[in-house]
């Protein structure tokens, strides 16, 4: 059902794209028709067999590493409140520095393999996770915390039994934001030194004025982002049965 709906939306976008091509008849190097882009995809299996997998693994590993880092940082700041005054500005600074600017330096430090791209994705991902999870941890119902103290629950027990469950819905929101940024951050890493990946493919095709291949790679990137996001939605669907989503 979900798959069918996704296919219908994709089909709708393709029809819109084709309509623009038919109506305005742009030169193929300005906007290639959908058929040319699909043909480029079919002609270059390396795009989805190699480049897509490279970028996907960079983004996925970065997502796991960034989420772990974000959760740990948020927990540390709640368990040791003085730490917050040091860590919070540092996390903000890490986001104020554009990944685009530090990418060339990360490449010099970490080489041209997966490492700098995973580092970039981690940097981009941990912040929304830290920020959302930390807010959630702090917003635990104070009456519940009072009750826990009456029962002489320790600091760790309070965090484990009350704060973490209360913060899970926020964590899910943070993850949903982060997952969209993961592929872009990995792409930035590929921009400054790579032998494979969708960013590498885009750069290469751009250098050769192959606009249809650029669009084909972008298409794969978009599909990957949608799948990653759907994956996070699926994984977190039953994480918070006490806070269900209601559409009405």
């Amino acid at each position: 059902m979900l798959l069918l709906r996704a296919l219908l939306v994709a089909l709708g976008l393709f029809v819109l794209w084709q309509a623009v091509v038919v109506l305005f008849a742009p030169a193929p190097y300005i906007l290639p028709p959908p058929a040319a882009v699909l043909a480029a995809l079919a002609e270059r299996p390396s795009l989805w067999q190699g480049d897509l997998l490279t970028t996907l693994s960079e983004a996925a590993i970065g997502l796991v590493a960034g989420t772990a880092l974000g959760v740990l940082l948020a927990l540390a700041m709640v368990i040791l409140p003085p730490l917050r005054r040091i860590l919070l500005p540092v996390t903000v600074v890490s986001q104020a520095v554009p990944v685009f600017a530090i990418a060339p330096i990360l490449v010099l430090w970490l080489g041209f393999g997966l490492a700098p791209k995973i580092a970039m994705a981690t940097i981009a991902i941990f912040f929304p996770v830290t920020s959302a999870f930390h807010d959630g941890l702090l917003r635990t119902d104070p009456q519940l915390l009072d009750l826990a103290r009456l029962y002489r629950a320790g600091r760790f027990a309070q965090v484990r039994l009350l704060r973490i469950p209360a913060a899970l819905p926020s964590l899910v929101s943070g993850l949903r934001v982060a997952v969209v940024y993961a592929p872009i951050a990995a792409l930035f890493g590929e921009w400054v030194g790579a032998s494979s990946g969708l960013g590498y493919a885009i750069l290469h095709a751009n250098g050769r004025s192959e606009t249809d291949v650029v669009f084909a790679a972008l298409l794969l990137l978009a599909a990957m982002s949608v799948v990653l996001r759907a994956g996070v939605d699926l994984l977190t669907r039953n994480l918070t049965p006490w806070a269900p989503e209601s559409e009405r």
Binding site: P28, Y29, F112, G193, S195, L203, G207, R208, S209, T211
Partner: protein
């Protein structure tokens, strides 16, 4: 944050602030905040303190200025021509900058605007799309663009020889091209560098698969100096070599034209097919030719003109780069070496970058 927004909220909701502008004296005692009534004119109307007289006077002035400037531009009547460079301004562009600053373009009745692009691959596409008239581009890339259907024509040459080279470090592991076996070679985006590397490797008895290639997207020198790569291709002999020395490295340079790659024009002028017969283009080439002759006659004086126009480039690396470049500018920018262009197109086909050798006249012309 919240107190700030409260202040701005009260400022907009307090009519006293705007009534001060509608004609009431600023010295009036502050009016207490009053509720806005339905009958009040909208804030935007009350904010305008100009009467109709002032409006008509202003409109007349605007029209007068427009007519005056229109007349002035017709009086000078130099034909506008926009030229998109291949890269940010650097000593490679000296003939263009000198032609503009020393008045050679003006003497040919041209008002030339030089624009630096954000991305080295975009200028030809912007020309094809009609956004600019002329772009500085590269002969190898032109063939790739023509293959992709861009309606481009080369009509002049800025630098009629390769500048691109393969560079290693003298104290590194690579002493000859044969030493590249099993090594990592970095390159920039420009389309044909893999083919050119392949040809150089074959000339040394290696196969392209004997090296690992990494796209560095213009971060060539830092990667080489940090020893993340063993060599780079696509570095310019007159720019990156200076840069490497400046950072304490000693470059070991391998010239493509000595190692199996046929000679080609590194920097060319392209326009779109529709402008092939445009009368501005021969005048543009004539002005560039005169500027090039001036550079050849007195390179030091020409550098002064260049440095005055681009003060941020007036430093030692750029002076050294200019010294290496000043003798390389095409003395006759309009000349087209037909045999050499065809030979290079055949090289591109042999390396599999184009399927067929296009007829020369479809993508290059000699304006006379």
């Amino acid at each position: 944050m919240s107190s700030l927004s409260r202040i701005s909220l009260s400022a907009t909701s307090n009519p006293a602030m705007s009534s001060g502008l509608t004609g009431g004296s600023f010295a009036d005692a502050p009016t207490p905040p009053v509720e806005r009534r339905e009958s009040d004119p909208p804030l935007s109307r009350r904010m305008t303190w100009w009467g109709w007289g002032e409006r008509i006077a202003l409109a007349t002035a605007v029209v007068a200025i427009a007519i005056a400037s229109l007349g002035a531009s017709q009086a000078s009547a130099a034909d506008k021509l926009t030229v998109l460079l291949d890269w940010f301004v650097n000593p490679d562009h000296a003939p263009l900058v000198v032609a503009k600053e020393a008045g050679y373009f003006a003497r040919h009745n041209l008002d030339v605007e030089l624009i630096a692009p954000a991305d080295a691959a975009s200028p030809p596409r912007l020309v094809a799309a009609g956004q600019v008239d002329v772009a500085v581009s590269y002969q190898p890339d032109l063939l790739l663009q023509v293959k992709e259907g861009l309606p481009l024509v080369r009509f002049g040459t800025l630098i009629g020889q390769p500048l691109s080279v393969l560079v290693a470090l003298k104290d590194g592991p690579v002493k000859s091209l044969a030493d590249l076996r099993g090594r990592t070679v970095g390159y920039s985006i420009a389309g044909f560098q893999e083919a050119y590397l392949a040809r150089m490797l074959r000339s040394a008895g290696l196969a392209p698969s004997d090296v690992r290639t990494v796209n560095l997207n213009f971060n060539l020198v830092p990667a080489l100096l940090a020893r993340q790569v063993d060599a780079v291709v696509g570095a310019f002999r007159n720019v990156e070599t200076v840069d490497i020395r400046r950072h304490g490295g000693e470059p070991l340079v391998f010239l493509p034209e000595d190692n199996g790659v046929p000679p080609y024009d590194e920097l060319i002028y392209v326009t779109r097919e529709a402008l092939r017969g445009d009368p501005r283009l021969p005048r543009f080439l004539a002005a560039v030719k005169e500027a090039t002759a001036a550079i050849a006659a007195d390179p030091a004086a020409a550098w002064k003109v260049f440095a005055a126009a681009e003060p941020t480039l007036d430093d030692e690396p750029n002076r050294q780069s200019y010294a290496l470049t000043a003798s390389l500018f095409a003395a006759d920018p309009g000349r087209l070496d037909r045999d050499r262009y065809d030979a290079f197109a055949r090289f591109m086909r042999e390396e599999g970058l184009v399927e067929a050798v296009p007829a020369l006249d479809t993508y290059a012309t000699e304006l006379r």
